[in-house]
Amino acid sequence: MTTSNAIPDLLYDEVDDDLRASVRDMLATRAPWDKVLARIDAGESYDASLWRVIAADMGLAGLAIPESAGGAGAGFRRAAVVLEELGRAVAPVPYLGSAVVATQALLRAGETDLLAELASGERSAALAVPFALAPQAFTADPAGSAFAGNGVAAEGDSLSGTVKGVADALIADVLLVPASGRLFAVEAADATRTPLVSLDATRQLADVTFAGAVGREIASGERAAAAVRGALVAGAALLASEQLGIAEWCLSTTVDYLRTRYQFGRPVGSFQALKHRLADLWMGVTEARAVARYAAAVIADDGDDAEVAAALAQAYCGPLAVTAAEECVQLHGGIGFTWEHPAHLYLKRAKSASVAFGVAARHRAAIGSLVNLPSS
């Protein structure tokens, strides 16, 4: 049984607060929700210029990359603050995929060249696995010839096969591809990326096909498996901060609306049934914040409890963000169900995120295995 009774610092420090303020300001200017929505109507997807500002100009892509590899050495705890703000703004940028998942894969694999490129914000990367793949579902094949969870095989350095429903691949410059027990870096231009109509159009998925593309081996064997699994664990853990941001936006937007909307001669927010629901939601958000901060801290500190923390994060924060978004739609009444109100963007992002890295039920089952609570 894994127990972790020592609890790391779960608060934000002043640097976090400053970071949050600058990211929030920048997003309010460059990516207000109506611009995000307009991109969807225009059939566009990721916002490359916004990403350039975040990754290169503000230098946030390298937050979790050590200074030795050209990063800021600030760790995943601070990256989590950025993710909260990106969730709060449903921003269409590949921060999670590139600055968390791919970054962690490279860190675990011991790769440094590509890491330096990511740190500078020049290029971005995505791990070529299905967005819905749960960490615990990714296992190195015992024969060492393939990874479970995607459909790519390597012959020498030549890769073939298709990975379905990959997040953040459409905007990536480099794809990290697990194949035949090894982990490769492939130029994205050498793969065929088919955009998919996605429930969450602010993080559009793609099918990625390799037809003899040349890969550069980054790691193999145990190290490769650990890199991919570690990347998925970090993704699941840090996604919780995005989900927290989504939930906070939904709660505060709903509260603001109900304070000013009058019905039956009273502010709607004075009706007790709604007050109690919002109080419950606030409780959930409060707990989600502790859970998300814990997950970020454990990943940042490379703690023993990482798998539990990540599973807990997705078991709790995934459904909570969905509940927050659903309450936001419902308590706005008709207006919250329209295309011209941002609530649906949050609903789609929250629901999609709750499936990412595996649904909550899978994470609960993972906890059962990790803490010795077997099903039978």
């Binding site: 969450d200 009706f271 649906h344």
Partner: protein, 395 residues
């Protein structure tokens, strides 16, 4: 009718009608004749498409026409006309209004829509702002309505508007039939979270309606509107469903046919939905049995409420069950469907569309208020808005 109407006598009547009218002939002619023969909605009075017969016998008549391969009136396309406008006109309209409106409504020649909801009103419908000002024999209408399905194909609308802002809000409302072809009526698509524009916004700018389009007395519109909405809820509480009908059937089919989707941790949740869906089905059946023996209770609201909750949860569960597949959608292009086609669409559409179930036709919150006050007899909230002139209300 001296003889009591029975299933037997109705079958005979239909047989006689079919002998005289070829169900394969002109569709509209056939439907008009059926109306004139009193075989349209048999519980309506003679002369208005009915026989004054028990409503419970309608299925007998419909079944005979279906068996004969007769054309139907495409009821789905005119749900508001048939479910809401018609009973309201029948109860509150003049004889001339009934003669003018009911036949083309039933045959589907004229589609109806409903101009009740307003952006500023929401659940508190009675605070509506749309004004109707008397001008000679006409009324001049100005305002904005919203959530109007079918407005873009409708010939007529049922409309409520404020005729007296100086009295408390429920008292200053009048009910009209609105001519959707009149100058000043502008219909714009209203797009939803699904990407589709199933509904419309309707802008009314100086629309002139003659006074003979007024339904019931000036100032009596709220009472009339309430009877319209009652009909809506009865309609929603509607038809019989087999076990595993509706959304639970979608889930059970996926579970049975696709073993690769089965995650043990989702099994009990699936069965919880099965139990709740079956309980809701039996409960709806029991309510229909009560209706059949005349015990009309308030349980219809419960059916709508439990449907909305369950449908939302089950569509959410479906996306979790499908995992990666559930993250895909078909298109975000704006379409204008004439009817909601739930089970044939993508799971993502179902999930999003179901979110409307607890808003449209009375929010779940309002339905809970209704149950608490009208069924359980719990006291109303303290209200300050019932006695204040509408114009002085905080908005």
């Amino acid at each position: 009718m001296a003889e009591p109407v029975t299933a037997e006598s109705l079958r005979k009547l239909v047989a006689g009608f079919l002998a005289d009218h070829d169900p394969r002939g002109d569709r509209l002619e056939f439907l008009r004749a059926r109306y004139d023969a009193g075989l349209a909605w048999i519980h309506y009075p003679v002369g208005h498409g009915g026989l004054g017969a028990p409503r419970a016998l309608q299925p007998v008549v419909d079944a005979e026409f279906v068996a004969a391969g007769a054309p139907d009136n495409n009821a789905r396309r005119n749900g508001i006309g048939l479910g809401m406008a018609a009973p309201t006109i029948l109860r509150h309209g003049t004889d001339a209004q009934k003669r003018r409106f009911l036949r083309p409504l039933w045959t589907g020649e004229e589609v109806w829509c409903q101009l009740f909801s307003e952006p500023g009103a929401g659940s508190d419908l009675a605070t509506l702002r749309t004004r109707a000002v008397r001008d000679g024999d006409d009324w001049v209408i100005d305002g904005q309505k919203v959530w109007t399905s079918l407005a873009h194909i409708a010939r007529w609308a049922i409309l409520i508007a404020r005729t007296d802002p100086t009295v408390p809000k429920h008292q200053g409302i009048t009910y009209f039939v609105c001519d959707m072809t009149a100058p000043g009526v502008e219909v714009r698509p209203l797009r939803q979270a699904t990407g589709e524009a199933e509904f419309n916004e309707v802008f009314l700018t100086g629309v002139r309606l003659s006074d003979d389009l007024r339904l019931d007395a000036v100032g009596n519109g709220w009472r009339v509107a309430m009877s319209t909405l009652m009909n809506e809820r009865v309609a929603i509480g509607g038809g019989a469903v087999p076990r595993e009908g509706g959304m639970i059937g979608v889930l059970t089919q996926e579970w049975r046919e696709r073993p690769e989707l089965r995650v043990p941790a989702l099994h009990d949740e699936l069965l919880k939905y099965w139990v709740r869906a079956e309980a809701a089905r039996l409960s709806a059946a029991r309510i229909r049995q009560q209706l059949a023996v005349g015990e009309v209770g308030p349980e219809g609201s419960a059916v709508k409420l439990s449907f909305a909750t369950l449908n939302q949860q089950m569509t959410g569960f479906e996306l979790e069950l499908l995992a990666g597949e559930g993250l895909l959608h078909d298109t975000w292009e704006m379409k204008r469907p004439e009817a909601v086609d739930f089970t044939d669409r993508t799971p993502s559409y179902r999930y999003l569309r179901a979110k409307g179930n607890s808003i449209e036709g009375g929010t779940s919150e309002i339905l809970r208020n209704i149950i608490a006050e009208r069924v359980l007899g719990l006291p109303a909230e303290p209200r300050s808005d019932k006695d204040i002139p509408w114009k002085d209300l905080p908005k």
